[in-house]
Every structure is written in C-alpha cells, then in structure tokens.
Amino acid sequence: MKRYLIRRFIQMVIVLIGISIISFLIMHLAPGDPVDIMAERNATPEQKAHIRELYGLNEPLPIQYLNWIGRVVKGDFGTSFVTGRPVLEMILERLPATLILNFWAMIIIYLIAVPVGMISALKQYSWFDHVVTTVAFFGRALPQFWFALMLIYFIGLRFGGVQISGMATWGVNWGVQPFFTVLQDRISYIILPLIVLAFSGMAGIARYMRASMLDVVHQDYIRTARSKGLPEKKVVTGHAFRNALLPIVTLIGFELPILFSGAVIIETIFSWPGIGLLAVNAISQQDYMIVMAFNLLGATMTVIGMFLADILYMVVDPRIKLE
C-alpha cells in the first residue's frame, strides 16, 4: 500500500512536469503575443517591437520556460502581462465564485439525481421512468446558453426578486445586514445559473444511477436476498442501493477538477465572476502567465481527483486491492 502511494506520487509529479511543458509550448507556438493584443493598432510596429523587448519576449523558449518554472516551484506564478497584477492573486479572487456555484450545483445534482435514478430503475418502464427518461434527454440535449437565455427572458426580466447578472448586490454583506436579507440577496443572484447547471448536469447522473441500479437488481445476490425472504425494502436499501452507488461514488473523484474549472458559457451569460471567464479571456489576450497557471491548477486537480477516485474505489469495494 505504502509502495503504491509513493509510486502514484512520483507518477503525479512526472505528469505535472509534462503538462507544464506542453501548456508552455502550446501557448508559445501559437502566433502572436500579448503585446499585439494589448497595443492592437494603437502602437506602431516600431513601438511594439520596443515593448516586446522590455517584456523579455525575445528570449529563447527554453530560457523563458526555465525562468518561469523556476519561479513556479517557489510559489511565484508571475504577473499578468496585461494587468500587471500577480497571477495567483487574480486566480484566487475569482476562484470563490466558481467554487460556490459548482459546489451547490453538485449538491443539488446528486441530491435529486440519485434518488430519481434509483426509483426509475426500480419502477422500470413505469410512467415515472418514462417521464424521468424524457426529461433527462431533454436536459442533456438542451443547449445551456439557450436555456439560460430563456430563463433570463421569461423569468429574470419578469420577476423583480430574480437577478440576471452578477452574484451580489453591492453593499449587502454578511454581518452587516441581517442574515436572511443577505441570504435572500445571494439566492436571487445564484438561482438562475444554478438551475441551468443543475438541470443539465442532473440528466447524466440520473441515467447513470438508473443503469447502475438496473445492473445490480439483476445480480444473483439480489435474487438470493429475495429468495431467502428479505422484505423488498431491505433488499433495496441494504443490498442493491449500496452496490449501485459504487460507480457514482467514484465519479465524485472526477468531479473535483470540474469544481475548480469554471462553466464558461454560464459565467458569460450571467456575468458570474468566476474563473472560467478569466481563463478564456487570458487565452484570447495571449496572457501566458495566467493560462499556464490555470492549466497547472487544472492538471493538479485532475491528478489528485484521479488519485482520490482510486482510493475511493478501494474504500467502497473491498474486492479491489491496490498494488
């Protein structure tokens, strides 16, 4: 077990180094640089060449990479070309918005999708199952941006209590106003993006849960449980449910990177100040420093998430041994 953990850890470091090189190369192989975007046609070609030199953008790539990775190891992700602000600060100030939205979306998705998927498996081909299946396909097929715009036009613009952009009213803060006033304010902003994320995310999990449950209820040990005279309730909760949950639990490991990555479309439409938009804007501005820090963060989260998934497998399924 210990050896396995050490091996996994070394693998993780190698993967991260590889990813840092690849993301560095991709950003630098793309034509153009931040100076083009920043100065656009407000600066003459002559001026641009001068600014490029000041930023050290003329140095050979391996040197630029070593300079960068050397600082990253020390925890310094550099400053943004465009804003001049420390990259880590820019990412950290955007992260909470993304975490809040994705965290609640995930909670809602699992709270609803798991029981719904289970019931529709137990009552396969009932009206409930048909409704769930239809709604799930609908939710899967519905383009998020379209659904979001519909919500804005038919709910946001019609009901005063529902906000269509941003995440908080300026001046309404925890500790300043009464708890419920602030809570109501925050909910009025998060409700629409949350509905979109939950609705489109729920479909997949519900279908997954249904399939997993169907798989389990046709297993021999369930038949055995039934034949030895256990009440149906006990068969379902005691035997079927826990086993059907196995693949779902391990899914949570894969959700970790999603939690940290922004939903760009939703953030754009609802002006939700999350991290996805920061990354996309940085890409279009060729602001290397932010993009590379963001890639590294995503890679780290994915690697850790995979690792957690493996551990979780072992915890919930005694048949699996990690060597």
Partner: protein, 558 residues
Amino acid sequence: MKKYLGIVVVLLLATAVIFSGCTNGATPTPSNGDNGEDAGPVFGGMYTYGFSGEPATLNPILSSDSITSGITNFINESLITLDENLEFAPELAHDWEISEDGLVLTFYLRDDVYWHDGEKFTAEDVKFTYEMILDPGYTGVQSSHLKFVDDLVIVNDYEIEIHLSQIDVPILNRIAAAALGIIPQHIFGEVEASALREHPNSWDPIGTGPYKFAEYQSGRHVVLTANQDYWGEGPYIETIMIRLYQDSQTLLSAFENGDIDFIDRIPVEDIDRIKQTMGDDVTFVEIANNSYYYIGLKQNHKFLQDQNVRQALMYSLDRQSIIDVVFQGYGTVINSHSVPFSWAHNEDVTEYEQDLEKAAELFAEAGFTKGADGYLYNEDGEKLEFVIVSMTGEEDKANVIALVIEQWKEAGADVKVEYYERSVLFNQYLDVGEFESYMWGWNLSVDPDSFNQFHSSQAKLNEAGEPDPDGTLVGFNDVEYINPHVDALLEAGRATYDMQERIEIYGEIQQILNEELPYIFLYTTNDVKAMHNKVKNVVWSPLQPIDHHVWYIDPAFH
C-alpha cells in the same frame, strides 16, 4: 457563441412580436429629455453604467482600451479637455499660451487642486507624468503622443513649459485626452517606468478628478465615490457604480432590466424594440462615431497600383446599400480620410456613386477586358484578382466584406477574403505590411492629422530610412502610399496653428486621397446611446456624454 446568441435573440424577438400582437396596440412613445420641473442639482444617489469586458489597468497613462479610459476619466484629469463643441477648455491648467515660434507651450496650472489623498497638485506632477511616458522603459502605447517633446521646464509650482523639437500642432488634442491624464509623483515617484504596470496604485488610482476610486472587484464592478474636495463645480452624484459584464448581449439585458442607467451602444437590431419598451424612462441620443472603415489597397500591387483600377473598384460599389443592409441605415458613406462632423471635413470630393459603366470604362483604360466567364483579364491573360485579409469574430465587418465582394464580382473583379485571428493578422500581415488588401477601421482624433497613415516616412523603410518595399514597416502607412506633395502637406498641417490654413491643407489632402485612393473608403457608423432620465443635467458633446461632475440624480431616485 455570439453568433448563436444573435440567432436566439432573433427567435425571441419573433416570438415577442407574435405575443405582443395579442396584448395591446403599443403606442409609440416619444423619447423625452428633462421635464423642466428641475429644482437644480441635489447631492446624492448612484449612477450606474456598464462595460462588456474588463479594464486592463486603472492607470491612465498605461491605458490602451476604452474601458480603462472610460473609468479613469472620472478619477484623473488632464491639463486641458474638450468641451461640448469639441473645443479646448481648461481643466488642470486654467490657461495656456503658445510662443511666437510655436515651439514652447506654456500651461498655467490651478493652484487650488489637491490629490485624493490630500497632497497638493503642482507642476512637478505634470513633469513627472510626461517624463514617465518618455522613459525608454515605459511599456504603454502613449509615447508617440509626446514624440516631439524636447524638454519640460518648471517655471514655478503652477507654471510649466513644454519645449518642442518641431512644431506639433496635434499635440494639444493629445494633451486633452484621458490617456495623458496626470498621475501623482508622490505616489509613483520611486518606481521604475518598466514596473509602473505592477505598482499597486496602478490598480488603486489616486487622481485629482471629481470622483475617487473606492473598490475594484474583478468580473464584478468598479466603485467610485464623490470627491467632496473637488476644485470645480460638483460633484453631485454620491456613488458611481461601473458594472463589468462579459458579453454585449448581457449588457443590453442588464440595461433593459434597469440594472444600469446608461448604455453606450444599442445593437442596431434592438434599437426599435428598446425605443418601444423603454421610451418613457430613457433619452436616446444618436451619435456619429469618430471613426471610419476602409479596405486598404497595396499601392505597389501588380493590379492595384493602377489608379484607374482603384477608381473603378470604387465606382463598382453601392456603399449606401451596404450601410442600409448591414447597419439598418445607421451610418454614412465616407469618401476620404475624414468624417462629416470634423471641422476639417471637405465636402468637395468625388462621391463615387455606383456607376458600372464608368467602372467598365476605367477598367478598359487600365487594359482589362471581360472574358467569357464574366471576369476581367489584362493583355497577358491575367485575371483581376486579389485577397482581402481581415479579423475573425466580427460579424458586421464580415457581412460588409461579403457584400463588397459580391458587388465587385458583378463588375468582374475576382476578390477573395481570408480571416485570421487577431494576433495572426497583426503578426503576419498588418504589422509587417504583407498583404494585397485588408479591411480595418481607424478611430480618429478630433485633430485631422493623418501623418501616421499617409506620410512616406511611416511606410516600409530600408536601413537608410528611405521608402523601400523590402524594408521594415515603421508606422501605419502599410499600403505604402508614397506622394511627395501629400508628404509636404502633412508636414505643413502639423506646423501651423492657423485654423483656416489647416482647413485648407487638410481639405486638399482629402481631395488627393479621394482621387488617388490608397484605400477603398467605406463608411462610418452611428451609435444609438441611451441614458435613463433620472440622470439630470447630462452634457452631450458630439462624441459622448461629458462633464460628469455637473450631472445629478433626480432626488426621487436617491
């Protein structure tokens, strides 16, 4: 993504039209301004507006984006400014004069101005700001604004002289712009020019203006508060809230929802609907943009070097129809490097109304005859063809180019378009001057100077500094337009302060450009802006709402 938004909005509109038919016959509401029942300015309230995007910095001298200048406008001030007639007006300098030889500009500064942190504003700050821009380590784009500044001499605390190496009349306009806003020496005095962008106060600005910076939250807002110690009138608005949106369609929804009080540009396809739904609460102002769009033609191109070909291309186009189709009429045809409301605009130029016969004649003169396939061929059997390069992601421009190509095809020219991502377009085409033709637009200054675009010293130059098609591109004369007479006129226009003389000089330049056509001049657009009626006393210049410090919010909305 934008494209889809557009489709969805159209669908929504269609639905809205169907449903509105069921409710009631909407009565047209005239857009009304102030109601006359004014009690005069009252302090208080909040003015909210929004941008689609994020400021790149909050330091005026590093700004290169309109969002930054739209914010620092409230916080920082320049020596002089432009009033509602686009004439120079005092700001930090209460008076100024120009020496006999035109080489020394003396500014007399106000002695009652304090920075937001309480320090006194003096001529040192002005000298410091301009020297920062002239520093070799400066990373912003304003250095060319002060290109001919030789020396900055402080006469006393409230008097500064700008010495020029040669007469540079357009400099007054640049000094009046927000991009040359004065920054405090006592804050930035110790920092290297190359590290100015990283300085914490580049994101926590201290100015002399009517509004003080309060807070910035990335992706959310910038908040400004009234500067109670402002030297001039006002300010009357307690809080300015600048919301940051991520998409122009979201910005529009926010305006419709009442989240913001002002919108800089309503998309043309939404104007009629918004006028219907919001006409009671909002004042609409249609403003011509101080910019124009064109297709630049490489002047030494195998086919395009012939003036007859260029003129024929111009006569082949029905530019008004393009404006009507793409911009629903919110625009004006442009025939030279000037917009109609400029003080130097010359009406007396060829208008190039579509005339296919004339175009055919000119093509024939250039040696082109129509082949069996409908395209034009010269004596060597070469087809008249070239490529326009343009930027991806701009729907309006793409629509214009499609119509232009269609009309040119009709006339027999086989023109293709290639789209490139922004930095590729600059890197491989525009900044190196390698293209047959390209589409772009110029944002103009109030000053008619066009030295950077058409002077031969701004084209590709060789080591000796002479124009050379194999040289390196220096300025914006990427079409390599070389005309010694225009060179002389452009130099003369920069060298005289006499308004009448300048009108004549730039009038002549416009005529020559109109005849020789380094560009296919296309159009300028009009924006419909909208301001909520609760904001009172708004001053509109021909370009934008100005003088925020005298605005106030209707007390009913406090």
